[in-house]
Symmetry: C2
């Protein structure tokens, strides 16, 4: 069953007449997810509950999308448009149906927010309402959640493949990195390898010295110095992303406090893994991880200031319950959801350490797809 | 005057109390534009008409943003939050003001659409309205248009620099490309060079053979074959992007019909340049370009199925009047706007040629910042 067929089936559950994605400049990930290619122009994708699916691309992208559908065996009518007015005229009969799902989130500022569905811009939604005043537009969040949170066997296979390829690259870092190279150069080398077979999941974070304490550091022209080197990176091949962090030590003799923190994080990660199990409250792995860090004497509330991880999938930040220790109690993990497990300890303006692996939630135990080195690698 | 100060000044024109940007996962370009770093978490930026500007980042990004502001001399209060609830509580007093500008577009399906401002997702807008029921939320489109359409001397300097660096790379293509390499490999090599000094403006389009007829082709595992090779690429350094297309011929003796089409496009581009002048209707360059192609016997309506170019700036697809031959007559070019000039001729499933240069609108004539080779380069 391809993604169009799956989505069609899910439409029955919410009793919708269709799922409409309107996208411009690649601003809704579900476009690339469904089309199989990146579009950089205005377009609409309509998954029909009954009848033929439809795509409205700009003329110059029509052939590209047609070829992608042929390759993927997707049966959808392609209706090219040649002006904004033409687009609107062609969209009108498609959107004038009783109940259409759109990509918007609900309760965005509340604990049950469906932010993962919040894509359609406000102005575009307004224009759609004007175009189809009698249509009941509902949130596509339930479709997106079902499509993307629990992974298919094909997606799990893609995950194992992309993780293997990423790990093989991370293992070359000690040979590749030299003191005096810039963070950007290391990022560029990694992304060069990714781009030959896939694409970066996100801009690689290469953080030397004190920058390792900024978890979302933007790789810069800073030169690699002796001390900690944190690399958080991943790539996408087919339908899955990897997302892995290794923290190296550049230069001889990492100090004891670095090694101690590394070891504590490694152990805390192993402990968290034991609770990445089907049916477990999603906050449990984080709670257990933090309990261990506290035992070891780390002020985790101050030093570990982000969630334990996130769902992983077609995007690095995927769809699934939050795995923060503050997630609601009734939020539950399910078999074949995919997560990162990435505890970190950060001393601002000094250094930070993060160890991140990717795991698959299992019935009895998780499958650990990537492995951080047990001891810090010294470069 | 930094961007925060410029934006503050523009707020007076629309009589707003502030400009609020709410962004998640880098989904509003104005976040990176203002912060100077890419954020990958929920955050809010508030440009105040009076008083202190404010940024609400998640705790783990606070230090990174603080350092960026120090480097850029931006005076703004950084108020970190540690949970969604905390974010909402801290946002509430900021947003409860009479008139706040938000990034949404108006008349999205009409010819005067301000799509370039359409960022805030529908669900987030709904949540804001609930949080501040007495606030009058207005579109930030006028601020964005003034900030981004006409370029500052610093931006023009950045443009010349980034264009020079990109052209130097394109000149190495004949030595770099070999028959049998994949399109992805060529893309990866280009982007590797970009990432060392900046970032790709967009995923490079490397299109061999018949794929050159798909203007937005996604570089694939297709191997470079004798025949046309279209490369559409660019990078960003500081505040400006380059966006350049060269079409090469791989193998000996390009056929006459290829050379003829190349020459016609080259000439049509030169003609269009003459109308990229302050005060000119924005559709004029395209009309003149198409008239020339028609004279040369090309069915331009069928074979040249996209606009002549687009505004260029902090993003490859920037902000400014459309330069399509179908743009409204009263849409006028202004000095120091920056555009691409990129006529193309495409024979679907056979081949395509596009020549794209970047230009600055001048008082008397445009400044052509990049130059396509006059004759096709044979690899």
């Amino acid at each position: 069953m391809n993604k169009f067929e799956k989505a069609q089936k899910l439409l029955q559950v919410i009793n919708g007449d269709g799922w409409l994605i309107i996208c411009n400049e690649d601003n809704d990930i579900h476009s690339r997810y469904l089309l199989g290619v990146g579009s950089h122009a205005l377009h609409a994708i309509f998954i029909a509950a009954d009848g033929k699916h439809k795509v409205l691309p700009v003329v110059m992208e029509a052939n590209m999308i047609k070829n992608s559908f042929e390759e993927k065996g997707i049966d959808a009518e392609i209706i090219p448009f040649n002006s904004l007015n033409d687009f609107v005229e062609k969209l009108k009969p498609i959107v004038n149906k009783p109940k259409i799902a759109l990509n918007f989130g609900e309760n965005i500022f509340e604990s049950d927010a469906t932010s993962y569905a919040d894509y359609i811009p406000f102005g575009t939604h307004l224009a759609l309402q004007k175009l189809a005043p009698n249509t009941n537009f509902i949130s596509a969040a339930p479709i997106i959640y079902e499509l993307r949170s629990v992974k298919s066997p094909k997606e799990l296979k893609d995950l194992r493949n992309v993780c293997k390829a990423t790990i093989e690259l991370l293992e070359t870092i000690p040979d590749m990195v030299k003191v005096g190279m810039t963070e950007r150069e290391v990022m560029a080398k990694l992304e060069y390898e990714y781009s030959k077979v896939g694409k970066p999941s996100f801009p690689a974070i290469v953080a030397t010295g004190k920058y390792s304490a900024d978890p979302h550091h933007n790789s810069s022209n800073e030169k690699i110095k002796p001390g900690p080197l944190l690399i958080d990176t991943g790539m996408q091949i087919e339908d899955m992303c990897s997302d892995i962090t290794w923290t190296y030590w550049v230069g001889n003799n990492p100090p004891e406090e670095f090694i101690d923190a590394y070891n504590a994080l490694y152990e805390s990660k192993e402990i968290a893994n034991k609770f990445y199990i089907d049916g477990t409250p999603s906050r449990l792995p984080a709670i257990k991880c933090r309990e261990y860090l506290a035992e070891k004497g780390y002020d985790h509330e101050k030093l570990f200031f982000h969630g334990l991880g996130h769902a992983l999938g077609f995007e690095a930040h995927g769809v699934g319950p939050r795995v923060s220790w503050k997630a609601p109690e009734n939020s539950i993990l399910k078999e074949n959801m995919v997560y990162t497990n990435e505890p970190g300890l950060y001393w601002i303006e000094k250094w930070g350490i993060r160890l991140e692996d990717d795991i698959i939630i299992g019935k009895e135990k998780c499958e650990q797809v990537t492995y951080n080195p047990k001891d810090p690698i010294v470069i």
